[in-house]
Symmetry: C2
């Protein structure tokens, strides 16, 4: 890891990441050398399983410098990456950060922007007690990108939570209201200043993953899980394909909060469209056998897993329709 | 991990990475889910230490599409990242790849380019028996970047090889000839077609890290180590700063191969300048106590560690001069 080909002021960025964090006892060699080394121990017992994921957010695709503060960009980069660990039931522990920034221009103070992105990264690390193991900073293209690799421990001895374990008859849950990020984006796009919408805007610009779910019984209850980054429709397709099952969703059961309904009403948008395809809500979609759901699953039931070959359907105003996997390109809609 | 905001043809890129690799017994959950999960075991004994590093190469800074084939870009991205693991004595095992590519343009077939970059990534993985654990592909800026996170096992129970262990009186070694990557770049820049220069050009475009050194006794002999990515001068400064020592290098001892000397002669360049500041040679710079060096260190001795406060000096044509840490920006020289 290095900070090659960058001007001296950026070398301090790598220093920034060295000092602020408490020494985690599992870190044998911290940030600042060629590689970091972890010695994963849980209560003195060597860790058996380590989860790893990488996620990159790119200016113009996942954020706009005209809408997001640099701190919000840093928060979003970490929370989006860690969300993948939550979906497999891993306790997030460490991140590595790779930032690509534009060549210096007279109009933008790259050094200050980079420092503020690290403030946002630090904010998310503090919230989830993560340590930065390393990273690099490269100067390159005309735009910014932030790539975060996340590492977490799987503490349970049970099977790993994947996309592929849903069974016919399982109930389908989401852990919270959907469409909020897309609603926040529309509020920004239309410059709506209504205080009722400020939480949505915050959720769009600096989302928080469902780190809190690790304290729930999700890992014990769920047969499959995925985080909602692309949108409910896409994630249902992932679960059904990996699990070789179909599903039936009751659209009326999909949780949509009051602020999203209010935004949709204000702009004459279909709130369900935001929930289906908005993406970046970072809630968890999971499936759960009926008998375990009775214990109290952490979310809202929106449908049921059906047999393989039955396809993906939604009950919409009394009619059965197929569920199409759509993405949502915020900045080109 | 996902392939969000990308056109359907890129979704197949993530599929490409799922099928080609033999199932490593330490992979509990492979590429294709939200996160990958490894269960690191060495001969049924849980692994104690895991090394991790990230390295990003960016179009225009680390490679040019006009000079490199996409396969060479893939090779360079992996080899540069894994080189950091070699420097801490870790056996490379897994990588995660994050590619950022430009929005589609009529002139460039992004899909084909991305597929060929993966062919290069695959080439490096085959060479070093690495498995791709996951990755993502994002569409964004005007240029390409490839970020590779590498994970490796530290098998020895001994201390970890860092930049910080050099002691006064240790000898300083490099594992091979320096300046070759810079020489290769100049050969390309000046369109020299001489077959004597083809190895240098190959080394510049598709470097290979010193994976073979893991079979040597480097880990047993060395007191400190670093890979030469930025250039000998910069790496000496890193070692001396981290180890709180000085150094004295005899410039005449720095290994420069015949092809580099020939290139330098052809273009009237100073071959030592290429060796000092060229970078991207991916050889290892290490220090070694004299009594252990007698066993046969895998490299060429170029100098000696001196006491703290004595600074970094080079003996050059009978004169002592300070060593300045210089980078080398290939594409702006």
């Amino acid at each position: 890891m290095s900070a090659s080909n960058i001007s001296p002021e950026f070398k301090l960025i790598s220093l920034l990441t060295q000092s602020d964090y408490p020494k985690d006892k599992d870190i044998a060699l911290g940030n600042g050398d060629d590689a970091a080394v972890i010695s994963p121990n849980v209560s003195e017992v060597p860790l058996k399983r380590l989860a790893i994921s990488v996620d990159t957010i790119v200016e113009g695709t996942h954020f706009l410098l005209s809408l997001s503060t640099p701190q919000q960009i840093g928060i979003k980069a970490v929370e989006a990456s860690v969300s993948d660990l939550i979906a497999v039931g891993a306790l997030p522990k460490f991140i590595l950060v790779s930032i690509t920034l534009p060549r210096a221009s007279p109009n933008i103070d790259n050094s200050n922007l980079c420092r503020k992105i690290y403030e946002g990264i630090d904010d998310a690390c503090q919230r989830m007690q993560l340590t930065i193991l390393g990273g690099d900073t490269s100067v390159g293209s005309d735009s910014w990108s932030v790539s975060v690799t996340s590492l977490g421990y799987i503490l349970s001895d049970k099977r790993i939570l994947t996309r592929g374990g849903a069974k016919q008859g399982d109930l389908i849950y989401v852990t919270g209201a959907l469409g909020r990020s897309a609603a926040g984006f529309y509020a920004l796009k239309h410059k709506l200043k209504d205080p009722q919408l400020s939480d949505l805007i915050q959720h769009h610009l600096a989302p928080r993953c469902r780190f809190d779910l690790l304290a729930s019984e999700l890992g014990e209850l769920a047969t499959s899980a995925i985080d909602i980054s692309d949108g409910l429709s896409s994630e249902l397709h992932h679960i059904c394909r990996a699990s070789k099952v179909g599903c039936l969703i009751d659209e009326a059961l999909i949780p949509i909060d009051a602020a999203t309904l209010y935004l949709a009403q204000t702009l004459t948008l279909n709130p369900h469209e935001l929930a289906w395809n908005g993406g970046e809500d970072f809630e968890i979609l999971f499936t759960c056998p009926r008998h375990l759901a009775a214990r109290g699953a952490p979310g809202v039931c929106i449908g049921e897993i059906t047999e393989e070959g039955s396809g993906l359907s939604v009950l919409r105003r009394g009619r059965l329709e197929p569920i199409l996997a759509k993405g949502f390109d915020h900045f080109n809609c």
